[in-house]
Symmetry: C2
Subunit: 119 residues, 2 copies
């Protein structure tokens, strides 16, 4: 079974981190049986870290981990930092594919979502 | 006619600002006749500013301006900074409604979009 790990930047404001956690819970309930688990992790300033988040998925029995960057632009975090964390963890667990999904801002459907919000 | 102004944070990386501009162009072509104009503005670090962006919509003949925060969490920028910029501009143009749309991260459909990206 696949596990989904939503990766956000993390904030000093705990309410922003909680917003990500609540979104993750909604994501989990909407995912149905597409993922064994749906969790979140943070690049910095909040817990769990990305390596810890991936590790938790694997310990829970994931046969594949999908890491989805909850980021709007292809900045350094998306291009370098998150892939580096994923690569490090992949080395530790070569038998479990850890796949990096496209970051949110690159999703084609984001325009439709924005037009809906603007109504 | 209504004008849509997508408001992003702005980045020191010009490529991130360009990403917002390209998204805005896609948004404009998908909006059909729902908006007279679709433009973007930045809270900081890039141009145009939010007041300048709103002003451009009004000068182009907008009868209503929808300001849509391209932000993922309800931090200080979404809660205080953007509303303050909008309120200042509303005072200058009391006859043109300038409406603040919900920020992207609060859109209900974001879970569906994320699940699509994770496939």
């Amino acid at each position: 079974m696949k596990s989904l790990l939503l990766v956000a930047h993390g904030s000093r404001r705990e309410s922003s981190n909680d917003e990500v956690r609540q979104l993750t819970a909604r994501l989990g309930s909407q995912a149905g049986n597409r993922f064994q688990t749906v969790n979140c992790a943070f690049l910095e300033l909040a817990k769990p870290s990305i390596p810890d988040g991936i590790e938790a998925c694997i310990q829970a029995g994931a046969e594949e981990v999908i890491v989805l960057p909850y980021f709007l632009s292809a900045g350094r975090h998306v291009i370098e930092d998150i892939p580096r964390e994923v690569a490090g963890k992949q080395k530790e667990h070569p038998q479990i594919p850890i796949r990096l999904a496209p970051y949110l801002g690159s999703a084609e459907g984001i325009t439709e979502l924005l037009l809906g919000v603007a109504e």
